[in-house]
């Protein structure tokens, strides 16, 4: 079952590389996504057996992150359906700099997307650090063409930075793996503990402390680069702002979590080896610094997709902080990961819709979304409220629990900094989001002029912008899920969350 989960998207991806007709590609995409989601759902009913000598095993945190990934992929692939159908495959003009560009081939897009899914699945089920590393590296490589889908200079620049920075980061993580291997080698130099999470946790007492510490640093920095912890996050705003919104949603919602999972795994080993305090300090530091950096870039941010990317940095910071705090914080981190993924994906999808109509990413120029795109306007505001942790959305609960963890552990200064930074982010985002939604656009977006009748007035303009179901339903579904999580956490999920928290905090 686990193998099927991985191989299904990979194979589908490989097949789709050789297919030309758009409709076939789209149906492969959707079918794979659906089937993958079904399989993932199946893992909730029946625990899949471990395969490859326990290298692949779906434990509670893995299942949690796999489910997020699979769900997001399904939702975004429905959105991608509409997106790909809408996309103009010929040469067209870039709206920012006015140059001509084309898209990558649709088959390349679908192929990479599906392999991307396969690799993320692999990350979630890998119990072996080496394999985990391979999977994370593979996600970087397959997502690069996705970011460079619109073939223009800015996306190219973003792709280059993405590859360069993430590769360097991942290389460091590899060194971390080797350090871990050294740490796991016994004094004779011949016998060693296999690099499986469970084996390492069980044999933690025999691990060499300095090497484990070094391994943790390298993995933290390495995977932290991928996860987007400041100051290693620098690729994130570029890649998110220049890639198609579907991809941004997946990067933010699924990929970052995968890197987070990798950090959790090594942290788990550290805790077992008695280095809990050491790991906590680093995670706390990274968490707070990420929040600070994100906050300072969110305030008066001029590009709303970059804004969302910085918001991801902020939330990765919260996740790191929460795990660093321990106690309730670990549970909160698990819950927060779900909530953040759903909300951020929703926001990116809505951002895609806004971008498609306004042809601008400027937070200062866009006005009156609610007057011409009423559903998207509502979704944009809902997303804003959800991502900033307002009730009744899920992030409220998880962010509150993080605060509780901080105060329970007696970290008053951290709690204050956390609240203060959340407050700054809220203020900054409120200023931007509300202004975007409210009022009327200064001039109507002129993209599909055929849909507009002459003498249109601003007040009646909404009738001429069609909000297609494929573009608004996916974010609506995500929004409803995140609202539901704020009001009620279903029992199976609750149990998995608790077990996941127990696993990653080494109990």
């Amino acid at each position: 079952m686990i193998l099927l989960l991985i191989l299904l998207p990979v194979l589908a991806g490989v097949i789709s590389f050789f297919i030309r007709p758009g409709w076939m590609l789209r149906s492969i995409l959707l079918a794979t996504a659906g089937f993958h989601a079904l399989l993932t759902g199946g893992t909730w009913l029946r625990q899949p057996a471990s395969v490859l000598e326990e290298w692949l095993f779906l434990d509670a945190p893995g299942r949690l992150f796999l489910s997020i990934t699979s769900l997001l992929f399904l939702v975004t692939s429905v959105y991608a359906l509409g997106y790909l159908m809408r996309e103009d495959w010929g040469q067209r003009q870039d709206f920012e700099e006015g140059m001509l560009f084309t898209n990558a081939r649709e088959s390349v897009f679908v192929c990479c997307l599906l392999i991307f899914l396969g690799m993320m699945t692999l990350v979630t089920v890998s119990q072996h650090f080496g394999l985990l590393w391979v999977a994370v590296e593979a996600t970087t490589l397959v997502s690069a063409p996705l970011i460079y889908f619109h073939r223009h200079v800015r996306s190219l620049e973003a792709t280059w930075k993405y590859i360069m920075i993430c590769s360097v980061g991942i290389a460091l993580a590899l060194l971390g793996n080797f350090f871990l291997a050294v740490a796991a080698t016994t004094a004779t130099g011949h016998d060693h503990v296999p690099l499986l999470v469970n084996s390492l946790v069980n044999g933690a007492a025999n691990l060499s402390r300095p090497w484990l510490k070094a391994a943790f640093i390298f993995m933290l920095v390495g995977y932290g680069t991928k996860m987007g912890l400041a100051p290693l996050h620098t690729w994130l705003p570029d890649a998110h702002s220049e890639s198609p919104s579907v991809i941004s949603a997946l990067l933010s919602g699924a990929l970052l979590n995968c890197a987070f999972l990798a950090i959790l795994r090594i942290n788990q080993v550290c805790i077992a080896a008695g280095l809990a305090e050491y790991g906590k300090t680093l995670l706390l530091g990274f968490g707070l610094f990420s929040m600070l950096v994100a906050a300072s870039f969110i305030v008066k941010q001029l590009d709303f997709k970059r804004l969302l990317a910085y918001s991801s940095v902020e939330h990765m910071g919260i996740l790191s902080l929460a795990v660093g705090l321990g106690g309730d914080g670990v549970y909160a981190a698990m819950l927060h990961a779900i909530n953040h993924s759903l909300t951020k994906a929703m926001l990116f999808l809505v951002a895609g819709n806004i971008l498609a109509v306004y042809h601008s990413k400027s937070t200062t120029d866009i006005r009156g979304i609610s007057s011409i795109l009423p559903i998207n306007g509502v979704l944009w505001i809902v997303g804003f409220l959800a991502i900033t942790g307002s009730p009744p959305f899920g992030l409220f609960v998880s962010e509150l629990l993080v605060l509780k963890a901080a105060l329970d552990q007696g970290h008053v200064a951290i709690a204050m900094a956390y609240l203060g930074l959340l407050g700054i982010v809220f203020i900054g985002m409120a200023a931007i989001f509300c202004r975007m939604v409210q009022g009327y656009p200064a001039e109507l977006p002129t993209f599909d002029t055929s849909q507009l009748v002459p003498n249109r007035t601003v007040a009646t303009a909404s009738r001429f912008f069609h909000e297609s179901p494929l573009s608004v339903l996916p974010p609506i579904v995500l929004g409803m899920l995140v609202t539901l999580l704020g009001l009620f956490i279903p029992s199976p999920l609750q149990q998995t969350l608790i077990r996941a928290a127990a696993t990653v905090s080494g109990q």
Binding site: I165, V299, T388, L419
Partner: protein
């Protein structure tokens, strides 16, 4: 009892949803939304009122699949005391709003507006009944958000957008403190349930003090304690008037509720708590009314008056805290009773005044008082109701505002006799209250005089007309409420026994014993009020007799011989307030733009324009925010676009961590 309560909430919420679903069918959505709110709120009044007669506390507890959450509600005396104005004012504002919003039916989505209005009502009711920290915070924040969307009803105006942002920011920062507060309480008690908080006895003063300060900031932001009040003068003018009335009348009182509820958990208050609250009360009261005096915008002025009245409430609560801390149960009972009674009174007259302001706005399309005048002949009902509200808000007898201030006065005079710190506190409050009272008189004679009396200054005032009957009836109901509370004052005291007992933790008998002290004076006040009204009637009769057989002449106003008086020569709001604004110029810092007439026959138009910004916004918040933005932008160098630099960050991080930890 619980069923009735939840039925009422259900009716309100579902009618809101239904109105939302009706969406563009504005007229229908309008009726459904407001009708549902009206009916639901009236139903909701029943359990609240019944509690005072039966004394039966309603409790509902359900587990909730949210960490530390439980669906736990309770209507006790304190909740019921706040539910009364919430439901009453909601019902009145809903009815009023139905007519008020009709002109917007073409341009606005009224369904959405009513959805948020009804959500606001429901969330307020839930806030004052929630018995679990998570539940409380959720309903609290939903209340804030619903009111935010109501404030931004006319979101196409830049000013409204700005006001909305300020409100959202303020309320969110306040909530942040509340999060910390509840988490702190949960840490001490091990649960988020209020019942567990109650069993908590804070022996560590530091923790209790911290909780008090957090509550003060968190709830104070919503209530509008100075200097946390800055959102009020922005949000209230921006919101539609029935919403302003509801927000100013009851929503900000949920802040008072929260504070009082938290005080109930913190059993052993210290004297400095009372001192802080009292100083806040004095500051809010005096500065609130001063800033009100300097305003030209009718609704902004009323918003500042909310700050003032919250200040009066804070003084009452501060005295109450003093009383508990220094073991003077009389002070505790009278202080809390006065503060809480003022909550209801303020809800009534401020609701009335905002509805009146709305009627004026509806009729003249301007909030600038200097463009109005003479409306009393055009809108007699509105003018009458507004006059009554003005007298009430000034705290003058024979209306309800006086009753609560009387409590606080009596309490302060009583405090004078005590040898400890309560004495000076009482003296401070007497002086503050006296000053607030006279300033309020100055302010409301200005409002009433400039808006309703004299002759119209502009065409928009000239063409004004009386509002629709629903709006008028709504105002009259609130006006009757003001009179009713004043008339029933001696009986209301006994109704407040359980409320005060709940807060102070004294037994009902003790509270009753202390509150009866004021029973007899209140009866006297009522008697004097009645005699006063009779006296006025008698004098009117006498004058009528005296003038009966004589020819009563009419002539233009005596203008000291000037031959061609125009309406523009009347005293304006600004000129009326000028002596006082100059006297307190150090606080108000009114900015003045003045172009003097030049030469014997001035050609260029001369003009004078004064503007009084909020002192705290201008001197504290704006500089602080600017500094924050500048500091945060200090990190902009991080993201300059050079991939080499980005890799350098990775290298530096790595080296730093290695050197630091290895």
């Amino acid at each position: 009892m619980g069923i009735l309560f939840f039925t009422s909430l259900g009716v309100i919420q579902f009618s809101g949803l239904f109105a939302l679903a009706l969406g563009r069918q504005s007229r229908l959505a309008n009726s459904v939304g407001s009708g549902g709110a009206l009916v639901g709120a009236l139903i909701g009044l029943v359990p609240a009122v019944r509690l005072f007669f039966t004394g039966q506390i309603m409790t509902v507890y359900r587990p909730w699949n949210i960490p530390y959450g439980s669906l736990s509600f309770q209507i006790d005396a304190l909740s019921a005391f706040f539910l009364l104005p919430i439901f009453l004012l909601s019902a009145v504002c809903a009815a009023y709003g139905a007519q008020y919003l009709l002109p917007y039916r073409e341009t606005k989505n009224l369904g959405a507006s009513w959805f948020f209005f009804n959500t606001l009502v429901v969330s307020m009711a839930l806030v004052v009944t929630a018995r679990n920290g998570i539940l409380f915070l959720m309903t609290w924040e939903i209340m804030s958000l619903a009111s935010y969307f109501l404030v931004t009803f006319e979101h196409e105006k830049n000013q409204v957008q700005h006001a909305g942002w300020i409100y959202l920011t303020a309320t969110h920062l306040g909530t942040a403190c509340l999060l910390a507060l509840f988490v702190l309480l949960a840490r001490e008690s091990g649960s988020m349930d209020f019942d567990r908080f109650e069993s908590l006895r804070f022996h560590t003063d530091a923790i209790a003090g911290m909780a008090f300060v957090l509550a003060l900031i968190g709830f104070g932001t919503k209530a509008g304690f100075m200097p946390l009040h800055v959102w009020l003068p922005e949000a209230h003018p921006a919101a539609p008037s029935h919403v302003s009335a509801l927000m100013s009348g009851v929503m900000i009182k949920t802040g008072i509720y929260g504070l009082v509820r938290i005080l109930e958990f913190l059993t052993f208050p210290e004297a400095w708590w009372g001192g802080v609250l009292m100083i806040i009360g004095l500051t809010s009261g005096i500065l609130g009314v001063l800033f009100a005096l300097a305003q030209h915008d009718l609704k902004r002025l009323l918003a500042y008056h909310s700050v003032e009245n919250i200040g009066i409430i804070a003084m009452g609560l501060g005295l109450g805290l003093f009383g508990i801390a220094t073991r003077h149960p009389v002070l505790a009972c009278l202080g809390f009773a006065g503060g809480l009674l003022h909550v209801i009174n303020h809800a009534l007259f401020k609701g009335l005044l905002f509805l009146g302001a709305g009627a004026v706005l509806h009729a003249t399309h301007t909030r600038n008082m200097d463009q109005l005048g003479g409306l009393i002949t055009r809108m007699p009902w509105t003018a009458g109701a507004f006059a009554l509200g003005s007298v009430a808000i000034c705290g003058l007898p024979p209306l309800n505002g006086f009753i609560s201030e009387f409590f606080i006065y009596v309490c302060s005079y009583a405090a004078l006799g005590s040898p400890d710190i309560s004495g000076p506190a009482g003296a401070g409050i007497i002086m503050g209250l006296a000053m607030i009272g006279t300033l309020a008189v100055a302010c409301f004679t200005k409002v009433f005089g400039v808006v309703f009396l004299g002759v119209p200054r502009t065409a928009c005032a000239e063409q004004a007309h009386e509002s629709g009957w629903i709006m008028v009836v709504s105002m009259i109901i609130l006006a009757l409420g003001c009179v009713g509370v004043a008339g029933a004052a001696p009986w209301i005291v006994s109704l407040m026994n359980p409320v005060i007992a709940r807060i102070t933790g004294f037994s009902a008998g003790v509270v009753h014993g202390h509150l009866t002290i004021i029973q007899q004076p209140l009866e006297s006040v009522t008697r004097i009020s009645a005699l006063l009204l009779a006296g006025i009637a008698g004098l009117a009769l006498i004058r009528h007799r005296l003038l009966a057989r004589k020819a009563v002449a009419q002539s233009p106003t005596w203008d000291c011989g000037y031959s061609q008086p125009t309406a523009r020569m009347q005293y304006t709001a600004s000129s009326y307030a000028q002596p006082l604004t100059r006297m307190f110029g150090a606080f108000l810092q009114t900015q003045c733009q003045y172009a003097a007439p030049d030469g014997f026959f001035p050609q260029a138009q001369s003009h004078l324009h004064t503007h009084t910004d909020d002192l705290f916004t201008r001197r504290i918040y704006e500089p602080v925010f600017r500094t924050m933005v500048r500091l945060l932008h200090g990190l902009y160098w991080m993201q300059q676009g050079h991939v080499q630099v980005y890799v350098l960050y990775i290298a530096i991080t790595l080296l730093f961590l290695l050197v630091w930890t290895l």
